[in-house]
Each structure stands twice: as structure tokens, then as C-alpha cells.
Symmetry: C3
Subunit: 267 residues, 3 copies
């Protein structure tokens, strides 16, 4: 079976940077299968990359190597990392982009310290090419993590936004807006059920203070253009407009508030 390497960057697809990294990886691991997850991360948006990572990695086969290069600190002091956890491996700068998978107690984190596995000279501006892509390829080709660096225990993590529950209001935020304009929140099905039991049809959901449509179990329950709420494919609360863009309707941005209350008057 061919080893798989996924790629997630903020490089876009117009510049040759992604292609160059692929060339480098195929020189080191000719048998690797290279799969793009996204190169459309906003420049330097570590948080967005972490969100995409969390949504995507677990759908790949065990032993996949996930390469993430969103690296505003390139050439500075930030460490290059490789991590093994849950049967997957990850290569990325130590800037918090790996936060979602570092939560796992079992994560083994290494700083990539062995110059033998870099391209030389290492440029100050493109560690994707000179440090991270080679590391991903060596890993995919079978080089053990422990040979490529030293174990560390203090990787940087982000304070990813967490929902809160106060005065009967569950408050989360928009963590991703997709191409369709759907508003994906960080409010999981599990949280909804914890605070509002198992019935979701009595919930009142607001986006930036504006009321959204009812909780449904299929987009098709709403009329075209109407808004509704659904538990989406990430297992989280999503606000949508059927065959339209909720982001436009609600003038929303990532980070905007989504609140849930039980729809009972007089309580």
C-alpha cells in the first residue's frame, strides 16, 4: 500500500510552492500518494488551518502523514515539529496549528533537529520546501520519528474558542464558513444534548443576535432561501440558508456569536 501524505497550506494554487514541495517529496519518497486537503487557508491564519485539520485528518487511512505549512514564523526561532498520535502522523511548525491533535494525552511530539533530513542550504523563507516536506516524505518512507529529532513536552497550543453555558444560554461561535456560506459553529451535538436534553425542536438559535430558522434534520425541510439549523457532518450546529448563503443573510464572519436557548416563554 502506498503511503499517503496530505497537504494543508496557505500557499494557494497559483504560485509554484505546492508543486515544489511535491517535487521534493517525490524525490525522497517516490511511492508516496500526495493528497491536497486545502491550500486556501488565509495567509498566516493558523486558527483556520487548525480547524481544517480537525475536520479532515481522521477520514484518512491509518499511518497517513499530514503536512501542515502555515508558518508566519518561518526562519525565526519557532521549532519544526513532527507528532504521532492516534495512528496518524503530523508535520508542522510549532505555532499551535496542531492544537486539535495535541490534546490527546498519547501524542508523542518531536522537534525536528536532525539536519540530515533537511534540504541544504535551508532557505530563511521556505521551510515548507527545505524542512517540512522532506520530513513528511522521510516519515512516509518509513524513517522512524525518533530518528529525526528529540522528544519534547511543551508544544505550543492555541486557546481555541470554547462554548460557554450561563443563564440558560449556550454561547458558541462561528469557526468556519464554507463555500456555500454555511455557518459552522463550535457547538457540538453532545453539548446541545447535555444542556437541552435530546429534543432539539424547542431550541431558539441566534446568529449575531438575529434569530435563525428552526432546527431540522435535513436542508430540504426548509424552503429555498429560508434559514435553518442542523447538526452537520462535523457533528456540530450549523446555520444555513437553503440553496443560499447564510453568511450573507446574517452578515457573519468567523468568530461571530451563535447562541442557543430553550424556546420556552415565561421561564
Amino acid at each position: 500500500m502506498r503511503p499517503i501524505i496530505t497537504l494543508t497550506t496557505d500557499f494557494g494554487l497559483d504560485d509554484p510552492f505546492v508543486g515544489i514541495m511535491k517535487g521534493v517529496m517525490l524525490r525522497i519518497a517516490p511511492e508516496a500518494e500526495l493528497v491536497d486537503i486545502s491550500h486556501g487557508i488565509e495567509p498566516q491564519n493558523i486558527r483556520q488551518a487548525a480547524c481544517v485539520l480537525q475536520a479532515a485528518f481522521s477520514w484518512f487511512p491509518q499511518n497517513t502523514v499530514h503536512l501542515l505549512v502555515v508558518d508566519p514564523g518561518v526562519g525565526g526561532g519557532r521549532r519544526p515539529l513532527a507528532v504521532k498520535t492516534g495512528g496518524h502522523r503530523f508535520v508542522a511548525p510549532d505555532n499551535g496549528v496542531l492544537t486539535p491533535i495535541l490534546d490527546a494525552a498519547a501524542a508523542r511530539v518531536y522537534e525536528l533537529t536532525r539536519p540530515k533530513y533537511f534540504l541544504h542550504p535551508v532557505s530563511p523563507t521556505f521551510h515548507g520546501r527545505d524542512v517540512f516536506a522532506p520530513a513528511a516524505a522521510w516519515l512516509a518512507g518509513g524513517t522512524p520519528l525518533s530518528k529525526m529529532g528529540i522528544r519534547i513536552h511543551d508544544p505550543k497550543t492555541l486557546d481555541l474558542p470554547q462554548p460557554s453555558f450561563r443563564r440558560n444560554i449556550l454561547k458558541g461561535e462561528i469557526v468556519h464558513i464554507d463555500r456555500f456560506g454555511n455557518l459552522m459553529s463550535n457547538i457540538s451535538a453532545e453539548l446541545l444534548h447535555r444542556y437541552f436534553a435530546t429534543q432539539t425542536d424547542g431550541l431558539k438559535i441566534r446568529v449575531g443576535g438575529k434569530p435563525a430558522g428552526p432546527m431540522v434534520d435535513s436542508y430540504s425541510r426548509c424552503q429555498k432561501g429560508e434559514s435553518g439549523c442542523i447538526l452537520n457532518s462535523w457533528g456540530c450546529l450549523e446555520v444555513f440558508c437553503r440553496e443560499a448563503a447564510a453568511a450573507k443573510r446574517f452578515k457573519s464572519r468567523v468568530g461571530g456569536a451563535i447562541t442557543v436557548t430553550a424556546n420556552r416563554t415565561g421561564k
Copy 2:
């Protein structure tokens, strides 16, 4: 030989959806070769996806599996389909996106009914991941269509626009505008020849009522910026401006009229 799966969706490349489908497929069919056709279909534009399918599929090797996910009815009642025809296989929602290949009398159409070939739980919002990508991968891996569902005979088809010929005017429409701004019509070379014999240099072509340049056999016959007409790589009439965008010049949109008349006065 590795089995090939092509992908055509309206997911764009910024969100992780396409990558997630690829991960799912590589878990089921690790040997599959995944080839993107387009993920730039306008959200929910079934007609555009059908047009892209028609232009692209036959250039792939026999036995290729073509996965199309443009699916405004996801989670509702529309059926998931797999079709075998002309040595190719297709997986898509039953919303008309497969119209161009359903015309063939020999098409064998199946509704995907066997939950065994889905991912579970099936989310209400992303059947690309849970239903269609798995089906494409099982097919590519050798599972026969007949095992995955039941034969049906009433798949949904679109009324794709057909050219008409009345009062010596052949009237078609723009079915695709490409990145260069070329206007691709649904007027085939065969139609032109049927109504106007084999000489095309005496034809008068109009776009939205405005006269286009002459019929030529190479873009280079026109001066830079000038418009002309040509039989393009799809075997259809195309209006272009040399090294410029005809779509801008003629202020055209998909669906706009293109007419052809014989350029004879007094007739």
C-alpha cells in the same frame, strides 16, 4: 492498472470537503488513482456540472469511475445513483446531473440502496463523504454495481437546451463560458453542416443580437482583440476574441442566445 476515479463537485478547493472524500476513498480503495475534473461548479448548479461531465468523461480510460457531487437535495428524498454505460461508470445524486450519459439506451441505472456500502452514521449534510465517495471507491475496487443497489428505470433528467431551426435561423445558446471568456454554444458542427451545408465561410453569427466575427479555422486568423467563430474542441460553435474575453465584449452569460444565418442578402 490502477482504477481511476474522477471528481466533479461544487465544493471548491478551500474547504476540506474534497480532501475528506479522497481520504474516505483511499481507505476503501487504496490503489485508486484520484483525478480532479472540477470543483469550481457554481454552488448547486446541476446544469453546469452536467455540461462539464459531458465535455470530460469520454477522455478518460475505459472503466473509469466518475464521481459527481452537486447535491442541493442532500438529506432529502432524492435517490443516490450509480450508472454503467459505454464502458464508464458514474456515481451521483438523482437530480439530473447525469443527463448527458442517461440518453444512451444502454445505460444501466441503479439506486444505491445497500447501507453496507455507506459510512455510518450517514450525516444529513454530506452524502459526498458518506454515500457517494464510498460507492465510487467500492466500484473502483471491483464491487459489481448489481450488489450495491437495485436497478431503476426512471432516473431524473434535465431538459437541456436544444438548438432550434426556424425561418432559416439556427438558434442555440451559450452553455459554458471558459476562463478565457470564450463562449461555448450547444450548436454542433453536425447541426451547422445539416442546415448550412459544408461551407461555413458564408455564415453570419450573432451573440445576443450583436454580430460576431467571421468563421475561421484557427484563433490566429483574427487580429488580437478581434472576435471570430470557430468549431472548438467539443465539436461545437464557439465565439472568441483573440487573446481577449468574448464574454466581456459581448456582455454574455450562460444561457444567452447565439444565432446563425446564411449571409446572403435578398433571400
Copy 3:
């Protein structure tokens, strides 16, 4: 080892053209590994494609076939070429796009003249599909160049902009602006060292007449939003703004002037 074919075009990723070329190549060379470098070249911008080629090709393994289709002269008289040099092979129209690799004295250039290796009928509008993709696939599959055409010695080359040094001013220009808004110049590290010795901290760099920040050895030496200059991953002078877009700051375009002088008063 699977043969590699890279793709660089101005086709974009929304239209099915790139997918169609891949289908054609996989019919001829099923074992080929297809790697996109860029399909975001501006329509008909041969110079930009040449720049991308120069930046990218050498990072791929020996024997890679590089397919470049930016082809404003399609269907006209320009010749289709295949070139072998430095262990790499290239397939492209004879319009100058291969200039960076034609400089090498050892380049062996062939005009693709053997119809046997084309798809028929050859359309007048899409030689990427009918001429260039097949040629790349035959090459990748092992067909020798000498079988596919005749040796020529007069391929077209572009006058790519060359830096000049007069009155103690080294003057180059912006040859590429990347997704981050970084301004990549054609002033190589070698040129800088030839004219200004090895010390770069005494240099004064201007973009379109406006002073840029100091020469540094890492983006992180500048404060967020501040501009600086660096020798980038292409070995050339680059003007950047840390975590911001220098192209916006300096209102720059490709072709704009970048000048370097020694920062000494009274000389």
C-alpha cells in the same frame, strides 16, 4: 518508479480542461504520476509561465516530464516542442515559455512532427489535449524524443528582463508577486555580492522609488507590518512586509523597478 509528469497551464481549475488532459495522459501512460505545478498562470502570460517553470522544475526527480501549455498561438503556425536538458524533459509550444531551460547549451530541442503521437482529429483550439498531453505521456512511458519529431536549433526565446548596473545602482525588476504579496525580483544573491561585496547590511533598496526596509536574514527580524528585504528561496532579492502584503504597501506590479545602492553618503 512511476514516471512523473508536471502540469503548468493558464487553464484555471474551474473548467474541465486540466482534467481532460489528465484523462488523455492516463490512457497513454496509465502508470504516470501527474503533479500540478500551477494552472493559475494569467491567460496567455508566457513570461509568467516561464518564471514559474524556472522556479519549480529542478525540485522534481530526474527524468520528470514537464508539460507547459500557455499557448496563445494554438492552431496557428507555432511549432510544438519537446526538449531534453539536465536530466529533465519538457513539452510546450514554441513561444518562448521554455526560455529558462533553453539557455543551457546542452538542450536538445525537437519539433513534434509525428502525427502518430497526436490525438486525431487535432482540434484547432486545444492542442493541450491533442498534441502536448499525448506527447508528455508518450515520453513518460518511455518513447524516445528522437522518435517523436525532428531536431531543431532555432526555438523561440523571450528577452527576459536582465538587471543592469550603472552609476553604482543595481537595477532589477519584480518578476513575480506571490499570494502573500511578496515582491520577488530578478536580482540574484550572486549579483548582489558581485557589486556590493559580501556585506548586505549597508544596502539601500527601493521599490518604485520608495525605500524598503533593511536587509535581514529572517522575516521575523522585522516587526509585524514592517517592510524588509531578504534573499529568498529562489536565491533572489525579495521585498516583503512581515505578515502583510508588500505588493499593497508599495502598490507594485510585476515589471516594477527594484534598485539597490550602497547606503553611503558623500560618495
